[in-house]
């Protein structure tokens, strides 16, 4: 396997230009329905709203202004699939359509996907959805086709300010840590890395530098795998099975005991 590859997204230099969204749509030929002439959301400059089957990059706009405007902030962040080391989607896919590539990224193979939607529920970040054109589950592939050709992903290549950086995850983590200490030293004590260590789902190969709580950016503070429910759920299953077995045993008994009496 090649070295694990991923994204480091430094939200403090994101200018919300959405070049990543357009570059992604162009490379992956994803549609914008109705010629794009939808109604505006009214939620700041965010008209994409969420990651789904046709939006694999999504720039979030969080306006933080008090009534007097003092210290107001407009947090901008380009969200994407996290390419988790322990990936929920991969875990729940019944057809093995979701694979881990030689770059340690997580990719849905459209031709194997049956569109059951298990992964949609299985992703703790809400990244995946069904693409209405292909009718299969889709999400960021970290430009698997470009990586195989030795090229960097379309979004990071298009990012004018290097808010989105692509590279070996090991190297990106070092760069991220350095940037955090630079910001901390400069008085921005709120800066930290989200998902850069193994504690979060074994590490997110696509991790972020944030300056507020994860919830502010719509990210779960403590994402969990679907399999976290495996033990309790299996207990229930075992219990249920036992119950069914007992009912069966008892009902047979009853039937057997009353066999003669029911006969006409």
């Amino acid at each position: 396997m090649a070295e694990p590859m991923g994204f480091f997204t430094d939200t403090t230099v994101c200018i919300g230009c959405k070049a990543c969204e357009v570059a992604c749509k162009q490379w992956n030929q994803l549609p914008s329905p109705e010629g794009g002439a939808n109604t505006m959301s009214g939620d700041s400059y965010d008209n994409t709203r969420k990651l789904d089957g046709i939006n694999w990059r999504h720039v979030k706009f969080v306006e933080q202004f008090s009534e007097d405007r003092v210290g107001g902030r407009w947090l901008l962040m380009s969200d994407v699939c996290k390419h988790c080391v322990r990936a929920g989607c991969l875990e729940v896919c019944p057809t093995n359509a979701i694979i881990r590539t030689e770059f340690d990224t997580v990719v849905i193979q459209s031709d194997v996907c049956n569109g059951c939607g298990a992964c949609v529920a299985g992703c703790p970040f809400g990244v995946i959805d069904i693409n209405p054109v292909s009718k299969t589950a889709q999400k960021c592939t970290l430009c698997y086709d470009r990586l195989q050709a030795g090229m960097e992903p379309a979004c990071s290549k298009a990012c004018p300010t290097d808010s989105i950086q692509f590279g070996p995850v090991r190297e990106l983590r070092e760069r991220g840590a350095k940037r955090v200490s630079q910001l901390n030293d400069g008085g921005e004590s709120r800066a930290y890395l989200y998902g850069a260590d193994e504690k979060m789902l074994g590490g997110l190969n696509s991790f972020f530098l944030l300056v507020d709580k994860p919830e502010v950016y719509g990210l779960p503070p403590d994402p969990k795998l679907p399999s976290r429910n495996l033990v309790p759920a299996s207990m229930f299953s075992a219990l249920g099975a036992l119950l069914v077995a007992l009912i069966g045993v008892f009902s047979f008994r009853e039937r057997r005991s009353g066999e003669g009496e029911d006969r006409p």
Partner: protein, 871 residues
């Protein structure tokens, strides 16, 4: 900007409108902790990544900059740090004395000496829009007993003789024939201006500047701009702390500084401030003019501007003494500084126009060259069109149906006999006769529109070879990636074919007025047979003409503008581009060699920048008067004593072997007339101008004037708006009076990252439309509450010119301002929409007035007044 320690972005939303260039401020921020300051009426995506955001009311920029100027002049550091004293005394005109007749705005109720009623222009062209004008005689340098009034090479843009130009010298005899033209240049010499090296004389520029800005106190800044004093002071302290020998700060501006009736003065205020701080000609310093769109820099260098010929030389004008080449050169040449070379550039230009037909005997065909008769810029032209004075229009890459007072513009276009639209899509201008609002609402019937409209499909950039000239004056060649589909043809093809046909049409004419077309050189056949068959001209042949070549052997390219001659032996269309293509096999604009990472340099092998591949202009100022770098950290160009020449990372913008201690030679012209410290080589005195004695028509110093439409009285002066604005009076172009209760709010217009200009190129792309699908108006929750408007409600916006509808985007990024004790609301609208395309919306320019800056005829789209109500 990557080298800046502090970057002030003002009059620009750089992150949104120049996202690619914004890479450099972000690099400065991440790599060495540069401070980013954004001063703007709205909290935008640029503010989001700035260290300091300073809000200000739209149209109050000079008050803010004036405050910074005063802060610097009064600060302890500026008055004690030897760097500032040495820099300002050596490289600016701070020591120069101004005429005794000068009266400042402080003495004359907010206007300068010399104000008078406008009486210029010619009856045939009553569309110049001038209201009043200044006689600038009293703004001139004092020149001892001789009392000469100095000269101005660049006068009012409408091609009128500026009053400062009359001079005291008789022009040379009309029958004087060059070349050479050296005697003209020598004849223009004047005595040196009076100076006081201590800068204490009351008529010295420094003292005048100090007095002029004394009223721009922090209190006054807050009262006028609405920016809290504490925030203003934080900006001032940060800027000053990051200027000096060891540190440099840069400013970036764009059309939010230009689109005002005092736009040139706003930029002048910034230049004045940067000169005081020593932030010019040095790495990480300067005033960055972020151009409005791709290659607009190129279109002013090789101009689509009506008032200048290539390389910023004034266009011959019927309103000036320009009857012969001799008179033109007498009127426009500056005898000292680099511009003394102008005769060489003009003659080489005329040779590029008329080739072998241009000879010394016929003054190189000067008589055949067109002359302007007034203001022929956008607003003046549409005013003339509306008066039925324009028969046809070639509209190439523009969408006037959606610009400035759009309804008036469309009414004007209905008076054309014919209109050619050449664009990528059938946009609003192409269909104004059938789909405009006044047609849809029945006000005008299609049957009554007599204009015949022709549409030519155009190629896109990846479908042609060519160069882009970017904001940094850098020419970058690009190659065609694919052939254009169908009948799409390049703009070059269109011009080339049109030229060929016109030449055929007039081939037999003996009329003097047709000789220009007859003799016009027009040979650009493509080298490639397929392209030739398509009719596409050769981009390289055009580039060669711009670079220049020897007239007797066109295969020999000139090496640069120092090779150009005034005798017709050289041919060069644009002297500033000379050197970009110095040999048939050396197209320097196609170079793509970056400096090695970590190596200090100026990226000299990446494409080519004018002039002479210099990346920072006036870079002599990056060394101290004796030629040594001001500091190791800000080293750029310096004097090498052992080699006896200037050297450094960049190409020195100075005569290579002129020593720092060189003294002017008596009676000399050109650069020999200036000392070895004259860093600003294009200025006749070699100095950066704090006080501008000539070249501006609205005053030698920046002064805060209110926009033409404003809700408040000018808090600083009795004079409300600039006394010399341009205004085109028309019943379809009414203005709101000051403080008009019908139009109580300030409105500003702008662009978004997601769309481009009028949307003519972007509203056809679903991917972009989805990102910004509808027209909206941004307003504060405070105003929304007052007016009962909820987020996403439809809002009706009215000005004296028109009314439109848009959806409300209620956001705290907008805020009310307290101006002079009154609460003023401000709203903002992007102007990307129109009635064609996949995403449609109202035309915001239905709201804007036809008023202009008197220097450059730029409109005031950034600050006017409106009303809003729930629709």
């Amino acid at each position: 900007m990557e080298d800046s320690d502090c970057i002030v972005i003002m009059g620009s939303n750089m992150a949104e409108n120049h996202p690619v260039a914004f890479r450099w401020p972000m690099k400065a921020k991440v790599q060495h902790g540069a401070k980013i300051i954004h001063v703007d009426p709205r909290f935008t995506r640029t503010s989001a990544v700035a260290d300091i955001y300073a809000p200000l009311r739209a149209g109050s920029d000079v008050a803010f900059l004036g405050g910074l100027i005063r802060y610097v002049l009064e600060s302890e550091r500026w008055n004690s740090d030897p760097f500032f004293k040495s820099w300002v005394a050596t490289y600016t005109n701070a020591s120069t004395l101004i005429s005794e007749d000068f009266r400042d705005t402080e003495d004359a109720a907010g206007v300068f000496s010399g104000l008078m009623a406008y009486k210029g222009g010619m009856p045939e062209w009553p569309f110049n829009g001038f209201t009043n004008e200044y006689d600038g005689q009293s703004w001139q340098y004092a020149r001892g007993a001789v009392g000469d009034q100095g000269r101005s090479a660049s006068s009012a843009q409408s091609g009128e003789a500026s009053s400062t130009q009359s001079g005291s010298k008789e022009p040379l005899k009309r029958d004087h024939k060059g070349p050479p033209y050296d005697d003209i240049v020598e004849h223009l010499l004047q005595p040196a201006p009076d100076r006081d090296e201590t800068m204490q004389h009351e008529r010295s520029v420094l003292q005048i500047v100090k007095r002029h800005f004394s009223r721009y106190t922090p209190e006054m800044v807050e009262r006028t701009t609405g920016c809290p004093q504490a925030t203003f002071l934080q900006v001032a302290e940060t800027l000053l702390a990051n200027s000096g020998a060891e540190r440099t700060s840069s400013f970036a501006y764009a059309v939010a500084w230009t689109q005002h009736t005092n736009g040139v003065q706003i930029i002048g205020a910034c230049a004045l401030l940067q000169l005081l701080l020593g932030n010019a000609g040095r790495p990480g310093a300067g005033v960055m003019a972020l151009r409005g769109h791709a290659s607009i820099q190129g279109s002013t260098d090789v101009p689509t501007l009506y008032h200048s010929i290539h390389g910023y030389m004034p266009h011959p004008s019927a309103l000036k003494e320009h009857d012969s080449l001799t008179e033109y050169l007498t009127g426009e040449t500056l005898p000292t500084g680099w511009w003394a070379n102008m005769p060489k550039y003009v003659v080489s230009y005329l040779k590029s126009m008329y080739g072998d037909a241009a000879t010394a005997e016929n003054e190189f065909g000067y008589d055949w060259h067109p002359k302007i008769i007034g203001d022929h810029s956008h607003m003046a032209m549409f005013a003339a069109m509306n008066a039925g004075r324009v028969k046809g229009m070639l509209c190439i890459g523009q969408n006037p149906a959606t610009t400035l007072n759009a309804k008036l513009d469309r009414a004007a276009m209905r008076k054309l006999d014919w209109l050619v639209v050449k664009d990528n899509w059938v946009h609003e201008t192409a269909t104004f006769w059938k789909n405009a609002p006044e047609i849809s609402n029945g006000e005008v019937s299609v049957a009554d529109v007599g204009t015949e409209v022709f549409f030519f499909p155009a190629t896109q950039v990846a479908e042609t070879d060519g160069t882009f000239t970017n904001t940094q004056r850098m020419l970058q060649f690009h190659y065609k990636a694919v052939d254009a589909p169908g009948d799409c043809r390049s703009d070059m093809w269109f011009s080339y074919e049109l030229g060929k046909r016109l030449k055929r049409l007039y081939a037999q004419s003996d009329e003097l007025r047709d000789q220009g077309l007859k003799h016009l050189t027009w040979e650009y056949e493509h080298e490639d047979a397929d392209q030739r068959a398509r009719g596409e001209p050769s981009m390289l042949k055009i580039l060669k003409e711009l670079n220049g070549y020897y007239s007797d052997d066109p295969s020999r390219h000139v090496g640069g503008f120092v090779d150009l001659k005034d005798d017709g032996s050289t041919t060069c269309a644009s002297w500033i581009y000379s050197g970009c293509y110095p040999a048939p096999d050396k197209n320097l604009t196609a170079r793509r060699e970056a400096d090695a990472p970590g190596v200090r340099g100026a990226q000299l092998n990446w494409a080519w920048a004018w002039p002479a591949n210099r990346r920072i202009m006036y870079n002599r100022a990056s060394a101290d008067p004796s030629g040594r770098p001001w500091s190791e950290r800000k080293k750029w160009v310096w004097w090498d004593e052992t080699q006896g020449r200037w050297t450094g990372y960049d190409v020195p913008d100075f005569p290579a072997t002129k020593p720092p201690d060189d003294q002017p030679k008596p009676g000399a012209v050109g650069m020999d007339a200036l000392p070895g410290t004259a860093a600003f080589i294009l200025k006749p005195d070699g100095m950066g101008w704090l006080f501008v004695p000539s070249g501006l028509v609205d005053g030698p110093l920046p002064t805060h004037y209110e926009p033409v439409e404003s809700p408040v009285n000018n808090p600083l002066y009795k004079q409300q708006a600039s006394p010399v604005i341009k205004y085109w009076k028309d019943e379809a172009n009414p203005l709101a009076v000051v403080g008009d209760p019908q139009y109580p709010h300030v409105i500003t217009t702008y662009r978004l990252t997601e769309h481009y200009l009028s949307g003519a190129m972007s509203r056809w792309l679903p991917w972009l439309n989805a990102l910004m699908p509808e027209l909206f108006i941004e307003l504060s929750p405070e105003l929304a509450t007052e007016k009962g408007i909820a987020n996403l409600d439809w809002v009706r916006i009215t000005t004296p010119r028109g009314a439109i509808r848009a959806k409300a985007l209620v956001t705290r990024r907008m805020r009310p301002f307290v101006i002079d004790g009154r609460r003023i609301h401000q709203v903002g609208m992007p102007w990307h929409w129109g009635y064609e395309g996949l995403s449609t919306g109202a035309v915001v320019n239905e709201l804007t007035p036809l008023v202009g800056d008197p220097n450059v005829s730029m409109h005031e789209g950034k600050a006017f007044v409106c009303n809003v109500e729930r629709a």
